[in-house]
């Protein structure tokens, strides 16, 4: 063990001198996590400014402006201002001021809107969208479409009632029916898992950390090729040391490198980006398991290669492929089902899952399955990799 520690300490000293490890292990993942978080921060806190022009003034138009658009305001999703004319609305979305557009989109309810619905005639709500406010305009369009769907149902109901009663409902009765049609019949609430997901900031922080972890830990086994090239491996082997101890020293150096990289990233993203990684003990378990997994896979890949360049390229390819499959660039929940299943073959997906399981009401115990999978992958690939890698340090 003393010899393995000696080799690990020497390797770590060399890596600190070779600043590329700092780039791969800390700066690159931290920088990318920061960029991704900033890019998506707006997407995670949606808000729109809308204006509405009610040229109809009827009960159904009032239902739309009061209940539908008012509902958006109550939910904090949008701010809605009422304007008098269509020209005012156009100016609001077409003319910018120092603070940008006054409105992201405008709803214009035409004259005769309520009567048209009551009589079963076609009508429309006009949507005017500001340039560069595509998302807000789409939301406005969706809101109007949802209202229109409800109206279609109402018209069918009105016709049916008219047949039954001999006269269709009108006025307040009709408005009540339309309002009822805007309520969703079924609301799905998943209280068990609804909160067990990583925030965008935490997701990208952890995703970049696991992606670059595979680059950080590969330097240990790759250094075998470098030591062979510069003759120091032969010199070490001529000394009182077993080949397996050299491999253990290399792995130990990689382990410390990986843990240090993760620790720095966890602290930095927590302080700088506000990432919430979860309970420290649980995070420590997941991280240790992930580092073990990364070293195992890296050792296995390296054991098949004969040169530094070959091993470096193969490890990079494997790291990127597993990273993409494992959802380090976009959450696997947004991917097709087949991809979600495939992602379970990667340590990256299990790492992110382990962290996510501890969010919301989750506990450390919830992360243990992911920890188990990561450790199993690391130990299995590591065992095969070390057995094969002995040829790299064995006497010829």
């Amino acid at each position: 063990m003393r010899m393995a520690l000696l080799i690990a300490a020497k390797d770590l000293r060399q890596r600190l001198r070779d600043r590329s490890i700092i780039l791969f292990a800390v700066l690159a993942p931290l920088g990318l996590a920061l960029i991704f978080s900033l890019l998506l921060r707006g997407a995670s806190s949606f808000h729109a400014n809308y204006v509405v022009v009610d040229l109809d003034g009827g009960s159904l138009a009032t239902t739309f402006t009061g209940q539908v658009l008012g509902g958006l305001e109550d939910a904090g999703v949008a701010t809605v201002e009422t304007l008098a004319t269509e020209a005012d609305a156009r100016q609001a979305v077409e003319v910018s001021n120092a603070e940008g557009w006054k409105a992201d989109a405008a709803f214009i309810i035409p004259v005769g809107f309520s009567d048209a619905i009551a009589s079963g005639q076609p009508t429309s709500i006009q949507i005017l969208g500001a340039k560069d406010a595509g998302l807000q305009t789409e939301v406005a369009r969706s809101v109007a479409a949802r209202f229109a769907d409800g109206v279609t149902s109402v018209q069918l109901a009105v016709l049916t009632l008219g047949d039954l009663r001999g006269a269709p409902p009108a006025g307040a009765d009709l408005a009540a029916i339309v309002a009822a049609a805007q309520q969703a019949a079924i609301v799905l609430v998943d209280t068990a898992t609804g909160l067990r997901q990583l925030s965008w900031t935490t997701y990208f922080s952890s995703a970049m950390a696991i992606l670059f972890l595979f680059f950080a830990v590969q330097s240990g086994m790759l250094s075998l090729f470098e030591e062979r090239r510069q003759g120091t491996l032969a010199r070490i082997l001529a000394g009182p040391i077993r080949p397996g101890t050299i491999l253990a020293g290399k792995a130990l150096g990689s382990f410390v490198t990986g843990l240090t990289s993760m620790l720095v990233l966890i602290v930095a993203t927590t302080l700088m980006l506000g990432a919430d990684w979860g309970p420290p003990l649980g995070v420590a378990l997941v991280v240790v398991a992930a580092v073990t997994s990364a070293i195992g896979i890296t050792t296995l890949v390296t054991s098949f290669m004969r040169t530094f360049d070959g091993a470096s390229a193969a490890n990079a390819a494997v790291a990127m492929t597993l990273g993409i499959l494992g959802g380090t660039f976009s959450p696997t929940a947004q991917a097709p089902e087949a991809m979600q299943t495939l992602s379970l073959l990667t340590p990256h997906a299990w790492f992110l899952r382990g962290l996510a399981e501890m969010q919301g009401g989750g506990t450390i115990a919830d992360a243990l399955p992911a920890v188990g999978v990561l450790l199993a992958v690391g130990l299995a690939t590591g065992a095969i990799g070390f057995a094969r890698a002995r040829r790299l340090v064995a006497a010829r």
């Binding site: 000696l6 060399q14 009182p240 006497a395």
Partner: protein, 338 residues
């Protein structure tokens, strides 16, 4: 007893009288019948040698003769196909971890960490061999003095000159004061000044009682440094003994070098017919002649050479290891090295 009988001309396992320096000192290294094959090529064919305490043994031979393969098998770096090696009676092979601590190895190529300083390199390899604390610190200081790197001890070694790197390469090997120091052509590529300093350092280690195995293809180094020399060619030790014993193998033959202009090849052929000439080789504008009783034969050699060329210079060389190698292998050492 004839002079030829004093040195052994190897056929299988040569056993030679010990050098005066070794005397009755205990045997530190014993290698017997070492063999190594790379595919169809048998790189080492039954090499045997012994080195005593305080003795410096030179393995002299051209590149590709099997020196590095032999030394790699001795230090347990290379698995052997046959034979055995003992260090103070303890068997050495690739798995003999503890016994390897008694060996210091200086490989032919540089084996140092370029991104670490000389002190850091020495610290790492010193700890690898079990040194620590004050003992390690003291030895690092001593070794830095020996190899003349004290003033630059804390500089990264990739900032060193080639000679300085070579000296550190040697210093690492002797850091833990091994029983046996293996030096595989340690002066290749070293400037003359550094080479002289290195040879002096190694000679001092020998005087301190260290057993040293030194491989080289430089005849002068073997002559200057080694108590005994084994001449190796094509994986076999062809002869071994002290320099005097080996030179005696050549008998009364001297080497005469004639510098000529004209038809050198045909002139060499004419010279070869002179009585007493063992061999005459033409090379560039010289004829190298191995001849008995050179001073008496010299006029006839010049006459023969001048039939087809003009003799511009004459050089009579006393028998040396170069002549021994020529005598044993039929090739000049420097030519074989190329």
């Amino acid at each position: 007893m004839s002079k030829e009988a004093q040195a052994s001309v190897a056929t299988a396992a040569p056993v030679s009288p010990h050098a005066p320096a070794a005397g009755s000192a205990p045997v530190v290294l014993a290698a017997r019948d070492l063999r190594k094959r790379y595919g169809a090529i048998e790189a080492v064919r039954g090499v045997s040698l012994e080195i005593h305490e305080g003795e410096t043994y030179g393995l002299l031979g051209p590149n590709g003769a099997g020196k590095t393969t032999t030394i790699s098998m001795i230090c347990g770096l290379l698995a052997r196909d046959g034979g055995e090696v003992t260090l103070d009676g303890t068997p050495i092979d690739v798995g003999a971890v503890a016994a390897k601590a008694g060996i210091g190895f200086v490989p032919q190529d540089l084996a140092i960490y370029p991104d670490l300083s000389a002190r850091e390199n020495l610290q790492f390899f010193g700890r690898l061999y079990g040194l620590s604390g004050a003992r390690l610190k003291t030895r690092i200081g001593e070794v830095l003095e020996i190899v003349g790197l004290t003033a630059r001890a804390n500089d990264r070694t990739d900032k060193y000159s080639g000679g300085m790197q070579r000296r550190l390469n040697i210093g690492i090997g002797l850091l833990h004061q091994p029983r046996l120091l293996l030096l595989d052509e340690p002066t290749v590529g070293v400037d003359p000044q550094s080479r002289s300093a290195i040879l002096e350092s190694i000679a001092a280690l020998g005087r301190q009682g260290m057993a040293i195995l030194y491989t080289t293809h430089y005849m002068e180094e073997a002559e200057r440094l080694c108590d005994r020399v084994g001449i190796i060619d094509a994986g076999e030790i062809r002869a071994e003994g002290t320099q005097r014993e080996l030179v005696a193998l050549v008998g009364e033959q001297d080497t005469v070098r004639l510098t000529v202009t004209g038809d050198v090849v045909r002139a060499a052929a004419d010279v070869a017919k002179v009585p007493g000439v063992v061999r005459a080789d033409a090379k560039d504008n010289t004829i190298e002649i191995l001849v008995s009783d050179a001073r008496r034969a010299l006029p006839r050699l010049i006459d023969a050479a001048e039939v087809r060329s003009d003799v511009k210079g004459v050089d009579v060389v006393e028998p040396d290891l170069e002549a021994v190698f020529l005598h044993l292998t039929g090739r000049a050492l420097r030519d074989a090295a190329k």
